[in-house]
Amino acid sequence: MNEAREQILSTIRRSLKGGEPKTMRRLDELQARLSRTTPMVQPHVDDDLLALFCLKHVAVHGTYERLPADQIEEGVRRHLRGLEVDPQFCLGGGPLLDQVAWSDEVFTYRKSADKDTRVAVSEAFAGVSETGTLVMRSSAENPPSHNFLPDDHIVVLHQQRIVRWTEDVWALLRKEDAFPPRAVNFITGPSKTGDIEQTIQYGAHGPRRLHILIIDA
């Protein structure tokens, strides 16, 4: 294997002329570019991040409701009642969800989702206004299976975690202890496919519906 590695790298160097590995100075320059975190060209995004986030989220077939933090359970139950689904779900964690004292009316599971999981309730790490995207960061209490296996995914997002651009997410992620986490999932609307007659059909392999509870500051 090492033979393949050396041969590929030396062919690259030969093709790029020079043929020699980079000088230390050149490597330092590349390292400097890597650790430079200034964004490059970004699209204009209006100051009302929440409004744009909601607009973009609805445009990709998502639904949402704005709530104060003490009404999360009611929001979840109301949404599930509307779908005629029992209030039992895989539950993730985070600053908002950890503070909910769930009543006896709901059944929560702290485990990975499986193929029969109907609902998962998660907390987003952040939201991106630019595209109406949720950012899910994997951790012990937030396994990625919650994002992809249920039919219905309900995501709690604090309004103040809505940032302007994806670049702002990198800044937030780099501040966390475990960087990079195993998985960062950007979610923009429910699962869909255009593979049959190039026509969009929702609920391909992932959630059929995506509902966000936006928690007001």
Binding site: M1, A4, R5, I8, T11, I12, S15, L16, K17, P21, K22, L27, L30, Q31, R33, L34, R36, T37, P39, M40, V41, P43, H44, V60, K111, S112, K115, T131, S138, S139, A140, P143, P144, N147, F148, W165, T166, W170, L173, F179, P180, R182, A183, V184, F186, T188, G189, P190, S191, K192, T193, G194, D195, I196, E197, Q198, Q201, A204, H205, G206
Partner: protein
């Protein structure tokens, strides 16, 4: 390399003939035509910075290619720090061997795959199947072509050539033994049936193999972009995750990723962002309750390293969005399989001769009208039509084209460089053609050009050419 379809000259023309007379293919392509184009245009129009972002995307890719050795080493180091393994493969056979060995080590019986064009390039599935492993494609389009025993005809819409009726039949045939005995015809029902069948596969797979839209040197991550979520289920559920990627997929940092993501989905499907964009960095962490225990990356060269530093280097910027296919009138007429190898359309016509051999792909750079739409829409500004011309030049120099054709071209080139002589020499045939057709303005038949006159008339020249009218003082 064991190419299943060779693309020799005769065969290309035969494949084209079949494609043009394939009613299902033509129906499916007619249905797809225009959809991607309109959606991309809307997405572009909604983003005033689009062209500036394309420039930045091109610059990022150029910067990486100019320093590819260093970025690959930086990337490899980070993957190791995350607890993953990096494997280097010089060619398809080596890559298949590496992957087969990992699967064997894992005792794999079932492998799920997220869509990966590079694994198509490796001919991976037959190799795994030969060692007794069941391979399940999970992208719906790729699943459909797998059931049909075919390969993708489009790099992002693998089953674009299939009609709904054909999909109904495929599902009926393959799902009946699983208990799905009803023949479903509606789109929603078809998608639901596939969801239900593939769900079982996702949760029972031992190894998941995905491609990578990008590899990030800063974090040692692979990025995978899908709409279905199949790539994520493939990455997260099995105990081993294998990422396959060409060596050109590495980019420096997350900031670079932001730029490239802004052009990728818009160019591919006209979406601002695909439903799922995921960044995976190694195996599960000790505190994680799920995720793969092993994380492997197989980096494939397969001819890419020799493209660096030469005239075709810009092709390595390609982010596999498919925009050039969607905007190519030739692709839309003949479909992806006519091209004879896994990469079709303009990007395929440039890549195939470079990765799969010049001799067997003489037609590809020629079967192009040079209308330039591919170059116009490319998110990383690859001068595709110019590179196709480069190929033609190279064919000419390597004498891969017909001797008669080369003589005619040579004579014409000589003449065209002498405008006065050119006009003098052309006057006679033009006058003859005028005399033959001046009443109707067209010839219904033309000896030697029956291919043309079979389906259209041949317009004959006017009595006095534009140049002569202009020179004699005709002015508005």
């Amino acid at each position: 390399m064991n190419a299943p379809v060779s693309s020799q000259r005769v065969e290309f023309k035969a494949r084209v003939r079949n494609a043009l007379s394939d009613v299902n293919l033509q129906r499916a392509m007619a249905k797809a035509r225009g959809g991607f184009v309109d959606k991309r245009r809307e997405a572009r129009d909604a983003l005033p910075e689009f062209d500036a972002i394309r420039d930045a995307a091109r610059d990022i890719k150029d910067h990486v290619l100019a320093n590819l050795d260093s970025y690959l080493e930086l990337y490899e180091q980070k993957v190791r720090e995350n607890g993953g393994h990096v494997h280097w493969a010089r060619d398809a056979d080596e890559a298949c061997q590496i992957i087969a060995d990992i699967c064997k080590q894992a005792g794999a019986r079932t492998v799920t795959k997220g869509k990966s064009m590079v694994s198509e390039e490796m001919y991976l599935n037959p190799v795994l199947e030969a060692s007794g492993i069941k391979v399940v494609e999970t992208d719906l389009g790729e699943y459909i072509v797998q059931l049909a025993g075919e390969t993708p005809s489009h790099i992002i819409a693998p089953a674009v050539h299939k009609t709904r009726e054909q999909i109904t039949e495929l599902f009926h045939q393959h799902h009946s033994p699983l208990g799905y005995t009803d023949r479903v015809t509606q789109r929603e029902a078809l998608v639901n049936e596939a969801r239900s069948v593939l769900r079982e596969r996702f949760v029972s797979a031992d190894v998941g193999i995905t491609g990578a839209n990008f590899l990030i040197a800063e974090t040692g991550s692979n990025v995978i972009v899908t709409n279905e979520g199949n790539g994520d289920l493939t990455s997260s559920l099995p105990k081993v995750h294998i990422v396959t990627a060409g060596i050109e997929k590495v980019i420096p940092s997350l900031e670079d990723l932001s730029v490239l993501l802004r052009v990728l989905a818009r160019s591919a499907t006209g979406q601002e962002f695909s439903a799922y964009t995921s960044i995976y960095s190694g195996p599960r962490r000790s505190q994680d309750g799920e995720g793969p225990e092993e994380y492997h990356v197989v980096l494939l060269d397969n001819g890419r390293s020799t493209m660096l530093g030469g005239v075709y280097q810009p092709m390595l910027r390609c982010i596999r969005c498919g925009a050039c296919l969607n905007h190519c009138p030739v692709y839309s007429a003949i479909g992806g399989h006519s091209y004879g190898w896994i990469y079709p359309g303009p990007m395929g016509s440039v890549l195939t001769p470079l990765l799969n051999g010049f001799d067997d792909s003489v037609d590809l750079p020629n079967a192009c009208t040079l209308n330039g739409r591919c170059k116009e829409v490319c998110p990383v500004r690859i001068p595709l039509s110019d590179l196709l011309l480069e190929h033609r030049l190279e064919q000419h120099q390597r004498k891969l084209t017909s001797p008669l054709g080369r003589k005619i071209l040579g004579a014409w080139a000589w003449l065209a460089k002498r405008p006065r002589l050119y006009q003098g020499v052309m006057a006679l045939p033009l006058w003859v053609a005028y005399r033959l057709g001046h009443q109707s303005g067209v010839l219904r038949r033309l000896p030697g050009l029956s291919g043309w006159t079979e389906s259209r008339d041949f317009p004959t020249p006017a009595r006095r050419s534009f140049m002569r009218q202009w020179q004699s003082g005709h002015r508005p």
